[in-house]
Subunit: 386 residues, 2 copies
């Protein structure tokens, strides 16, 4: 028997067997009634997960494609925008806006810091306002989940449109598209939505539709896409198999219930952090309940993170993520979004423990897993958990 | 038992069971060795199918995304390009180039006509040359397959770059990327490559790489994509499941052999046309062997093509394609690309025969199917077939 494989990366994430089975169903034509009814159901479920009464546009693309749609539709050359950046995906917003010739003002933090609404407010005042503010909800490169509600309020107070990268957060941590006044929320199929990569998603408020600019675009054009979806059609041949899988996955998520899923992710994050700390490891990502998407962990002195990841993969079939950029050899990241339960966290920590011991690190055996299981348990009423 | 369904559209096309099974395999990380080895094999197979020694860039997108990459990378505002247009997909090139602000000169034909190299040569002389010429190999809306080799030679004689939409032709009819001097060939997974929609492909010559312009782009940027692929990496999270399926499908196609596949498609087209004519139907697409991708057939007087398609679908589970634009109620299209054999053509014609009889048309029973089988048979040596 070939070795079992474990996928503990923050995207792509493991896909439930029901979703994999849906991918293997025969292909249908995208302009027939079978697909239309499936697509209509999928769009309804997306609205429920996004918590919006508005449009969620569906692109055949990665999450970056959905992000580019926001820039291509909103940013005309020379228009001022503000990007809040504290990691690789904040930098992606900046690079995208720069590629479209926007006047990009950045609120920039060290990687791993948590953006502060007051800094955004100050930047907007200093700049004399901006057409749009680009935010990252879950900065997958560092594990930080920003307080998008407060950041959006700061942007709104200067009447900027609010654009959010929620690629790794949607469905894992609370996000209220309409209630928080988020004009554009970009996401993708391959994180908490438990579907293989290939579908980019973007909700677009009426204010954002009204503010589209002059940059060239065709495939990612919002108006063309919206007009198609109004008839349960697609402007271009959609990835019908992935849409079928996404529909099944969204059904699973809504059956669990969004609040239950958010609670599960909080407890998974807690389990991962507490387990890592009990093993004597230092966290890079914040030790707080909001950061429930991915846990970034520094390797002990003398252990190269790249070599640790290779050992995990080659000896134990376990894939965790590395660090971006300068952090490549200093940390590894365990994703716990989507189709995850506490035994996945246990398996990840157990494999890390074995690999660290083999690398010569001092690790007290067994305490990480035990502490993770304890931390995952729901908090009894009245005890609280700060 | 629910009724069986038959997909006879020119994209998406039916997908072999081996490919469907590959889609259902667990998701792997796109930066791990399992995926790298799969991706490397897939890129090699793509080069074989494209018949190129150069790059084939892989995007998570529909075929239109691959087409847009050509326009976004090559067309700067105001630059002159020539588009040869004789149907819906020629118009797509024109709309794409116009969206990027190019100075678009069109060689335009009635839908259903076959472009002539002399017209392109004359247009290029009249315009004083152009940076690029945009061609459609298989015009899926009409069934015409253009002589891209001769058209490319005409473009080359004025030193224009040659850009070809081969979305529905690649793998079905002969196409020689390098030997014909095609600088850019756009295609997609969901036609003759027998994979669900979601992967856009584009080969890019060194001359095309050297000629990239100033239009904004990020997701569809060739250089970023090429740099990633050089390391068997992807600039953005790729559709790993679809790439796995595509790799299996390309293996099936190369096992059959490209020449054998081209011959099969010629005979499938012949069978479909001869069967339709034997039934007394008039062809809209050219009655010639080169047009081996899709057969467009006019409905008899008094029979609405839209109603015929509904009847085929609702009564027999058979999906054929309609006409684009003004042709919507006048014709239907039977695709015969990819995972098709003669019994698919037989089933399509048999269903059309039943539906036409029910619609009150005069059809001699059984002759269409019999003639299709006869026309599909390989031509005995020495008999020839003009």
């Amino acid at each position: 028997m070939s070795a079992k494989r474990y996928l503990f990366t923050p995207g792509p994430t493991p896909v439930p067997p029901e979703v994999l089975a849906a991918l293997a169903e025969p292909v249908v034509h995208h302009r027939g009634p079978d697909y239309r009814s499936l697509f209509g159901e999928c769009l309804e479920r997306l609205r429920a997960v996004y918590r919006t009464a508005g449009d969620v546009l569906v692109f055949t693309s990665s999450g970056t494609g959905a992000m580019e749609s926001a820039v291509a539709n909103l940013c005309s050359p020379g228009e001022r925008v503000v990007v809040v950046s504290a990691g690789a995906f904040g930098e992606r917003w900046r690079n995208l806006a720069a590629a479209y010739g926007a006047d990009v003002q950045a609120v920039e933090y060290e990687w791993g810091e948590t953006p502060r609404p007051d800094d955004l407010r100050a930047k907007l005042e200093e700049a004399g306002g901006a057409k749009a503010v680009f935010l990252t909800h879950s900065e997958t490169s560092t594990g930080v989940v920003a307080d998008v509600q407060a950041l959006a309020a700061a942007a709104k107070s200067s009447r900027a449109l609010v654009v959010v990268d929620a690629v790794s957060s949607l469905g894992a941590v609370p996000l209220e598209t309409d209630a928080w006044g988020l004009d554009v929320v970009a996401s993708g199929s391959q994180k908490a939505l438990m579907t293989p990569p290939g579908i980019g998603l973007v909700s677009v408020s009426e204010a954002a539709h009204a503010a589209v600019g002059s940059s060239p675009r065709f495939y990612f054009d919002w108006e063309r896409t919206r007009a198609g979806q109004a008839k349960l059609d697609s402007a271009f041949t959609p990835a019908v198999s992935l849409v079928r899988g996404l529909d099944v996955a969204l059904g699973l998520l809504l059956d669990e219930g969004l609040e239950a899923a958010f609670d599960r992710h909080v407890r998974l994050g807690r389990a991962c952090r507490e387990g890592a700390k009990a093993m004597g490891l230092e966290l890079f990502s914040p030790d707080e309940d909001r950061s429930a998407v991915v846990t970034a962990i520094l390797t002990p002195a003398g252990v190269d993170a790249g070599e640790l990841r290779l050992a995990l993969r080659d000896r134990y079939g376990v894939t965790v993520a590395g660090g971006h950029g300068d952090l490549k050899n200093r940390l590894f990241r365990i994703g716990h979004i989507g189709y995850y339960d506490v035994f996945d966290v246990v398996a990840a920590l157990a494999a890390v423990e074995l690999a660290l011991v083999e690398a010569g690190a001092e690790v007290e055996r067994g305490v990480g897993v035990a502490r993770a299981l304890e931390a995952f348990a729901p908090v009894p009423a009245g005890r609280g958990n700060a």
